[in-house]
Amino acid sequence: MRAAVTEIGRAQLVGDREMAITRIFDAPRETVFDAWIDSQAIGQWWGPRGFSTTTHSMEMRTGGVWQYTMHGPDGTNYPNEIRYESVEIPERIIYTTSGGREDDDIHTHRVIVEFRDKGGKTEVSLRMIFPSAAERDEIVKVYGALKGLNETMDRLGEYL
């Protein structure tokens, strides 16, 4: 079986307000781009392993919105919303993402995805940019707090 991924890239921290990941996929640029703009397709790979995605609405155009819910492996639902700042077929997508709930503001960030043709293969570069150091700090604090809470609940579960 032919591998569709020829270069394994992992996401990593770049500078003080960015995360980045670049990977080369063994598929033509149009095919790769389609996987991002088709609501049926994106639902099949979006999110970490064990997660699934339900699309409520998707307007894939500059100024459009994608409303979806991610379902975690433990049954938790995560409502989300993406606003497409720019959709340039088949080269680039720029969007802002936020949790669909009001209390999820801290997850707001901007993402730039670029698709480059590499002789029939496609290099996808994704950069996740947080608006400010202050906002990123909020994320760290809240994320840390949530994790602490989970650990407490786990211990409580063991105790009970």
Binding site: M1, R2, A3, A4, V5, G9, R10, A11, Q12, L13, G15, D16, R17, M19, I21, R23, F25, D26, A27, T31, V32, A35, A41, Q44, W45, W46, G47, P48, R49, V124, L126, M128, A133, A134, R136, D137, I139, V140, K141, Y143, G144, K147
Partner: protein, 119 residues
Amino acid sequence: MNADNLDAIFGALADPTRRAILARLASGEGTVNELAEPFAMSQPAVSKHLKVLERAGLIGRARDAQRRPCRLQPEPLKTVADWVAHYERFWTESFDRLGEYLRKVQEEEQRQAKETEGH
């Protein structure tokens, strides 16, 4: 840990030389001289980086007056690591799944093309 501390940590981690110094210290303590060696940098330049790392609480200096070796203090890294791990996992695994999806789509296309040829 407050926001100023976190800014100091992220600021310290933003520089590749400082990240390399931390990686080097992960395998054991080192003096300024020892740390300067692999980077082709002057001692004062390395000292400057070490001060930034020290302010962020990422390294400590031993009281040994002669050598004053630096050692890694990994605790602040954990907070940052948790945040990074969350998004690292999201995108690394999404890209893994995208690769698998693309393979499936292309195999399906090839199969259909073969069927068409056969008819």
